[in-house]
Homo-oligomer: 474 residues x 2
């Protein structure tokens, strides 16, 4: 038995299962130095970037091959012990927490590009490669992988949470961009789903079932994903607006007019202030849209003109353009720093982050009422959004030691999600359910639908060893 003492911020769902010494011995024997039980290693693998905590896993296996993953799962299955896949550690909803105990399977060493099929615009990779590593590896092909959730997440983790982020408005999410998988099942078998063909009607879409299953149905060990030609022309712009409402209404029009914009990101005035402070920038401290246009030079020009006209109609001003890669990087690094810059406005705070996504016609209502409630609560907050998709994030900055602040922030989150659901939307556009949104999922999908998910889980993982206690209670 190796379950450590429970820390102070325990989750209600915590129900640790025993990790017998026999398993730890068997892992040590099979994996030697590829297996660690050092506390620091285990603690690093027992958390993510969200604010929830649980005791760390009892061991970490550093898998270097599909066979390693299979063997680790088979040993764990033999002892009825949970396994939790781990790569970049950048998830936000408690996905990586060993809430039922268990072992972590770290796939960071499985980070190779297995084949680039440039003529078919596909690449096959191992799960531990990060999106930046991937784009670096293929930069000579003239192709790129566009999905960008902000963090330099692993491709496996992005698929597991059905991630998206900026660029999804044009290129889709992981749902649209994963073609085929190799997956290790709960029994330790390696199976394949999908093919490299662009479309298929060959039975159940197990690829899409695995994408977004958060490690609860299998562990991805190979992924074939889509690439895109680097656009001939790229242009980025920022534009300030008198209010969040103006920025959002401008976005709605851009989307409804069918402008094939590649990115359209909202950051609110709070966040602009935070980014200015954090990154030593002098951005105008108002709500702001950050945009990027991809295409032929003529198309980029046409898109930019349309958007400038729409922005003017909504009071947009201080349009700033960036065409060189360096200038674009500077603008976008501000967006990428928003989360950490926001956090640093209240030193020592934790962020409770929302992730609702609504039909585009409902975005103004969803955003403005949420802002109003946050202002009234006096909890400090920031807001960023992939608004072209109808997806936005409020970050409520709480004192992690204050249960009142946590409760107040969670109350705001509840109101925000309930509103999104009333408006025809979802509680999570891209972060996933993890532990934190299990209640929201039930509100959104209904008991019958969650029961169907649970039935699938029980059929594919009867011992409940694959990242248990996530998405729904089990």
């Amino acid at each position: 038995m190796n379950a450590p003492a429970a820390p102070s911020h325990l989750l209600p769902t915590l129900a640790l299962r025993p990790v017998p010494q026999g398993l730890l011995d068997a892992l040590a024997q099979r994996f030697g130095p590829q297996c660690s039980t050092a506390l620091a290693v285990r603690e690093q693998h027992g958390r993510d970037e969200g604010s929830l905590q649980a005791p760390p896993p009892s061991a970490v296996v550093f898998a270097e091959s599909t066979q390693d993953v299979q063997d680790a799962v088979r040993l764990a299955a033999q002892y009825d012990v949970p396994v939790i896949p781990y790569a970049a550690g950048s998830s936000l909803e408690g996905h990586l927490l060993a809430v039922q105990g268990g072992i972590s399977i770290d796939v960071n060493r499985m980070n190779r590009v297995l084949s680039v099929d440039a003529e078919d615009l596909t690449v096959t990779v191992q799960p531990g490669i990060t999106r930046k590593q991937l784009n670096d590896a293929i930069k000579d092909t003239g192709l790129f992988f566009p999905i960008d959730p902000g963090a330099d997440a692993s491709i496996g983790g992005m698929a597991a949470t059905r991630a998206s982020g900026t660029n999804a408005v044009r290129y889709g999410t992981m749902r649209e961009n994963v073609l085929a998988l190799e997956v290790v099942t709960a029994r330790g078998d390696a199976i394949r789903t999908g093919t490299r063909a662009k479309k298929s009607s060959a039975g159940y879409d197990l690829t899409r079932l695995m994408v977004g299953s958060e490690g609860t149905l299998g562990i991805m060990t190979e992924l074939t994903i889509r690439l895109y030609p680097l656009p001939e022309a790229i242009s980025a712009a920022v534009c300030s607006f008198p209010s969040v409402g103006d920025a959002v209404r401008c976005t709605i029009q851009i989307i409804q007019l069918g402008v094939p914009i590649a990115r359209v990101e909202l950051i609110d005035a709070n966040t602009v202030r935070a980014v200015n402070a954090h990154s030593k920038l002098n951005l105008r401290e108002e709500a702001m849209l950050l945009m990027e246009f991809h295409g032929s030079p003529a198309s980029v020009k046409e898109q930019a003109e349309t958007v400038q006209e729409l922005a003017a109609e909504h009071g947009g001003n201080a349009f700033e353009w960036a065409s060189t890669p360096e200038e674009r990087s500077r603008l976008w690094s501000a967006r990428h720093m928003a989360y950490f810059a926001g956090l640093q406005t209240r030193p020592g705070c934790s962020a409770i982050t929302t992730d609702a996504c609504v039909p585009i016609s409902q975005l103004a209502t969803a955003v403005l009422e949420s802002v109003q409630e946050a202002e009234a609560s006096r909890i400090p907050y920031f807001m960023v959004g992939h608004v072209g998709d109808g997806n936005f994030h409020m970050g409520y900055l709480i004192d992690p030691g204050s249960s009142e602040e946590r409760a107040a922030a969670e109350q705001l989150n509840h109101q925000l999600v309930a509103r999104a659901l009333r408006l025809g939307g979802t509680c999570t556009g891209e972060h996933g359910v993890g532990i934190h949104k299990m209640g929201f999922l039930l509100d959104e999908a209904g008991q019958g639908t969650v029961d169907m998910m649970r039935a699938i889980k029980q059929a594919l993982d009867p011992k409940n060893i694959l990242n248990p206690g996530k998405i729904f209670a089990l």
Copy 2:
């Protein structure tokens, strides 16, 4: 008991389950004139447009509401009797055959548009509406539903088989275009999957699991699907090529260059001859690409110029353009008639139709070797293809009474599929598995993957009443 005598062309998988008189009485009582046991009605509902045959279902329920579907399923479940959803009847792989007996649930009367959300580019419909009915109903909105499998299929049936057809090269397949569903489960409960938000990470992607499940996991009773703005400009063209190989190589280049072509269809010389004879046209009797370009006037012009240059490089000639709706309809009705025109070249024949789809770089190999084998076999054939997606159909025209011809055609089909799988493709791009491709699915996906599908089926439909005997043996 109501199982009729078995006809002569029985399938090896046929294992009729009893349909007790008690169920027929209960259906008659619940549904009155909405339930028929007339032989002609049952026979119409016991076949599709493929060449396989089985005894008809024992009764047909004409559902008019979700509640009707629920009640029919509940009664069938009570008696362990299979239910098979039916709409346009245009599937090709034996999907609608009552291979284990049972009752048909006809949803043609559930053909209403429930809500048009033009600002969000979505529409919610009942499953029985056909794609033409839908486009007619929304024609005043300036939007359209682009997916066009040729037949005027129902939206429910198209979702159930993960259909695509022409236009998918630009707009995607049913996989990409279904946002949310209401589904009646094996227990007769109605559940909802997905929302109207453009993206979501809310648990397992049950929407995509249902899309392509061929009625084996639930019966769709409402679908929310994506619409698109009618393009500002549309232009269509046909171009003849010295050989199928030249046409295919031209297509590969169009796709690899990233031309956002809306349709690119191949028909071979045999098919052009058949279409000419059938539709009294004078098309040049060579391999031909039919293309359509959507976009702004400038973009359509740019696309057309690029494609003309590429066609010239591959010996393309006799470019004929159609810009008016009437001319376009004439060109495309030729494509739409190809299947029936092909059939009529051999009166009384049946067609064994292939549906492989390969990565675009492998398309020339896949097509040319298949043509070579068909020529050598002396079985008459025609070929059409959604070649922009790497998907093509050979139709082998056999005498339905000749077991030698059937065997020879199936042998050609086997070779064609085996080749597609070697090339990284799939046995079915858009028709689905049904009965006919169960063996191919096993070859393609492997035993472990098909076992995973079967486990899901058993978990969601423990009595095996939802369109049993399709996709995999069970």
